[in-house]
């Protein structure tokens, strides 16, 4: 097939572009936009996305990051977060948890209308949750987010009650996500194909055209009146956003540098460094919430069922130098299971110090005492081989190079890491078949409840497709207990402590090798003012953006 060759080709393009632009460095670091002067209404902003073009613009369907990026411009949620991660009003003005924690009531704004004229009310919220939960919608991310909701009751036109199967301390965080954003019930009643083509929300922009494989056109919502509580300004100011798909990173940066587009996402380290010396380009760094980017060690089978072998791998992996040289200082090393965006994240650098000597001692103790002709350790005639399937869709070229460095440094102590670049479908299939020892799988979710998805033994039960989220195959009753309790307790201090205890078990058991936050860098023209990243899933919003040209 042609795919692997092209993927390799594109990776090589990234590297050649890196080599060509890597020599330009500068000191001018762009900050997030701080509005200067008065907003000027009008104009068209062009956005170039490196993510795959969604196959459906309704983020209830499926539910991935490319959908969240564009849906942030036309859909809104019941709740948002402030900079500290605390819930703030959006389409809901207030909320209360019942004493038994088995239901929540949300009071809704009474003056909001969807862009198709349908009023926003309790019935609309009910229709949306039911749409997400309907198997015919085929929602995966949103479906998980409202997994504990058993029914939705309209208490009045402006009060809606969510009934739960068990207490859910993550409910508010889950509801901030675009994958459960609120859409017009009138629009949802159309066929799935129609709603995928032109979903209708209350957001600052409206989907007005979708020219597949080319662009999505978003036009200003003239009746917009429902910004989240932390919004500043009186937008939307832009007439129009043209949302383009430009898969190649070098082309994307070239288009920004030549002024053909105003903002690019998925900016790669070479482009970020090049932009630092360019006054006309600013950077916005917005790490994604949820899990950090980490290598998960499959403890469900040999050789990583032995904790000593896991620790030996982690001690022998030289990560720091690789990150510095391959990411040109644009990514900061993480020592946590969670994103630095999460207030509850626990970090423990001491567990991850580079110590090949200790690694050798551990491997000797674990019985991997002999070496074969190639220098790899063996035990009972079997080589210490680690299968590492790499998703070329999710791991950028710099990250893939980092894996090669880890391969080289762990070889010193006798590990044979076999890197296998795969496209997304093949990668999921290999994981589902348990044919891996190492894997790097990003996971975005608002709040520390992501730990329950990734490390609770329930995450070992595969979905019908074979997919399971607990790639480290951690199965510890005590950890399950902590994560369940944490997911039910809304008291902040108690919840934080429970998550700290849970993270300690995960880190101390050497189940993961944290690398860095999920990188999410935007580069934009200095003519763009008032843009910011949502404190929820770090997608950029142009609700208050304007063009100074």
């Amino acid at each position: 097939m042609r795919t692997p060759r092209l993927t390799l080709a594109l990776a090589a393009v990234g590297i050649s572009a890196l080599a060509l632009t890597g020599c330009t460095t500068g000191a001018d670091t762009g900050d997030a936009a701080a509005p200067t002067g008065n907003p000027v209404p009008g104009g068209t902003l062009t956005y170039a996305s490196g993510d795959a073009e969604p196959t459906c613009l309704d983020p209830h369907v499926g539910g991935n990051y490319p959908q969240a990026l564009v849906a942030t411009q036309y859909l809104e949620s019941l709740v948002s977060l402030d900079g500290t991660g605390a819930p703030i009003p959006w389409l809901a003005t207030s909320w209360t948890e019942a004493d038994d924690s088995l239901s929540w009531q949300f009071t809704l704004r009474d003056d909001v209308v969807f862009s198709d004229g349908t009023p926003f009310n309790a019935a609309a919220v009910k229709a949306n949750i039911e749409h997400v939960q309907d198997p015919a919608t085929a929602s995966s991310t949103g479906y998980l987010a409202v997994g504990k909701v058993t029914s939705v009751e309209e208490i009045s036109d402006t009060v809606v009650q969510l009934n739960l199967s068990s207490p859910d301390s993550a409910l508010l965080e889950s509801l901030t996500q675009p994958w459960v954003a609120i859409q017009s019930p009138t629009a949802l009643a159309r066929t799935s194909d129609e709603n995928c083509e032109s979903p209708v929300g209350t957001g600052p922009f409206v989907v007005s055209a979708w020219d597949r494989q080319n662009s999505i056109t978003l036009t200003r919502n003239e009746h917009y009146n429902s910004p989240p509580a932390d919004a500043e300004g009186d937008g939307p100011y832009l007439d129009e956003i043209v949302w383009r798909f430009v898969p190649d990173a070098a082309t994307r940066y070239a288009a920004l540098a030549s002024g053909e587009v105003d903002i690019i996402d998925n900016a790669q380290p070479d482009a970020i460094v090049a932009a630092e010396s360019n006054d006309a380009i600013n950077e916005l760094e917005a790490p994604r919430p949820g899990a950090s980017n980490r290598i998960e060690l499959n403890s469900g089978k040999a050789p990583f069922d032995d904790e000593r072998v896991r620790e030996a791998f982690i001690r022998s992996a030289g990560v720091d130098d690789g990150i510095t040289s391959l990411f040109f200082g644009t990514a900061e090393r993480s020592y946590s299971a969670l994103s630095s965006r999460e207030a509850t994240a626990v970090s423990d650098p001491d567990l991850f110090t580079f110590d090949p000597e200790e690694a050798n001692t551990l491997l000797d103790a674990a019985g991997w005492t002999t070496r074969d002709a190639d220098g790899y350790r063996t035990k009972d005639g079997e080589r210490l081989t680690l299968e590492f399937p790499v998703s070329t869709n999710q791991s950028v070229p710099a990250e893939q190079s980092l894996f090669e460095q880890i391969q080289a440094t762990t070889k010193e102590v006798g590990f044979d890491v076999v890197l296998e670049p795969l496209d997304l479908s093949s990668w999921y299939t290999v994981l589902g078949a348990n044919e891996y020892n190492l894997v790097s799988a990003p996971y975005t979710k608002v709040g520390p409840d992501v730990l329950r998805i990734l490390y609770d033994s329930a995450g070992l039960v595969p979905a019908p497709s074979g997919y399971f989220a607990n790639h480290s195959q951690v199965s510890i009753p005590e950890l399950d207990e902590l994560l369940t309790r944490a997911s039910e307790i809304t008291d902040t201090a108690e919840r934080t402590q429970l998550y700290a205890d849970a993270q300690k078990i995960i880190l101390d058991g050497y189940y993961i090798l944290p690398l860095f936050d999920q990188q999410n860098h935007y580069l934009y023209s200095s003519e763009v003012e008032g843009m910011r990243a949502m404190p929820t899933v770090s997608t950029p919003t142009f609700a208050e953006a304007w063009l100074d040209r």
């Binding site: 499926g62 539910g63 991935n64 085929a138 190649d248 082309t251 496209d423 997919y467």
Partner: protein
């Protein structure tokens, strides 16, 4: 394209031409059948569940019921042999089915994307032909150094991978000089870099072929007789030798079209240009079986038609072939 001259049989000339064409048409159907079959098998051999592709792509956590419903709706619960023949039967009736990922008819998707890729391919072929012609004429006319430079250029051009050339052109003409946009939209200036990317390696190949046959022609007796009649050096090339030398290059244009379509996968991705190549790439990644098969069939059809057309053209242009039948 293997043509073998056999003994001439003037009396049966008309019948043999008809039979030749019939054989070519049968071959065309055979090629399409083979393409459909190989694609059918290949897409099922690579890992990934088509039912998942229908329900939002890889990694989706679709429920059992949803997967079962999707399998039933698209006939994926049938035995593989039944699926294969059902698919062939639909293709025979020109029904290419629904794309899993785009939820649109495959014919409509291809119809929408075909134009952009064809334009790219035709312009690239034309430019490649012109470049090849220029280099061939220059290097045969201007002495040994020019010949060495010409053939050197051709070898380098042939060896350039599309993705490298594309990125280099972006860095040179967009980032550094700012002459052409790096993103190729439907405007004419956006076509320059993609066409150059596809045309340069192809021009290297065609140039090699043209120069060889030009040199052959220049040493033929008919050129000598033209010179003896007092024809000038350029007259010899343009009026006599070139016509002769162009034949193999024209014959290769069917093949060239095939390489252009595979090059379009890279070029359309790098220059963010809508088209069949980019659609094919995402269809393969999403395991969108009907769309992959549909595009492969269209490309196979275009390739076969072009090859047949160039053969017909060859027979018209070259009287020697008119008396020949295919082996």
């Amino acid at each position: 394209m293997t043509l073998v001259a056999v003994q001439r049989s003037p009396a049966r000339r008309g019948g043999s031409a008809a039979r030749w064409l019939l054989a070519r048409l049968a071959g065309l159907v055979g090629v399409l059948w083979a393409a459909a079959t190989v694609t059918f098998i290949a897409v099922r051999l690579i890992p990934g569940d088509p039912a998942e592709a229908i329900l939002g792509g890889p990694g989706s956590q679709a429920s059992d019921e949803a997967l079962a419903a999707a399998r039933e709706q698209y006939g994926l619960d049938q035995p593989i042999v039944v699926q294969y023949f059902a698919q062939l039967a639909r293709y025979a009736m020109l029904d290419f089915g629904q794309s899993y990922s785009l939820k649109d008819s495959v014919a409509a998707v291809i119809g929408e994307q075909l134009g952009g890729t064809l334009l790219l391919a035709v312009l690239s072929l034309a430019l490649a032909g012109l470049l090849a012609l220029g280099v061939a004429v220059f290097s045969t006319r201007s002495g040994r150094v020019a010949a060495a430079v010409g053939s050197g250029l051709e070898v380098v051009a042939v060896a350039l991978p599309h993705f490298w050339l594309a990125t280099s052109l972006v860095l040179l003409f967009s980032t550094t000089l700012g002459w052409f946009p790096p993103i190729s939209t439907r405007g004419p200036e956006g076509l320059v870099l993609p066409v150059l990317t596809l045309a340069i390696p192809l021009a290297g190949f065609l140039g090699q072929v043209m120069r060889e046959s030009l040199l052959d022609a220049l040493s033929s007796p008919f050129v000598l007789s033209a010179r003896l009649r007092g024809e000038t050096a350029s007259g010899v090339i343009w009026r006599h030798a070139l016509r002769h030398a162009a034949l193999p290059a024209i014959g290769l244009s069917g093949w060239a079209f095939g390489t252009l379509v595979s090059g379009a996968v890279v070029v359309e991705t790098v220059f963010a240009r809508p088209g069949l190549g980019r659609t094919l790439l995402s269809a393969v990644q999403l395991r969108d079986v009907p769309l992959v098969t549909g595009i492969v069939l269209v490309v196979a059809l275009a390739y076969s038609v072009l090859t047949t057309a160039t053969d017909v053209f060859d027979r018209i242009a070259d009287p020697r072939l008119r008396q020949a039948a295919i082996a």
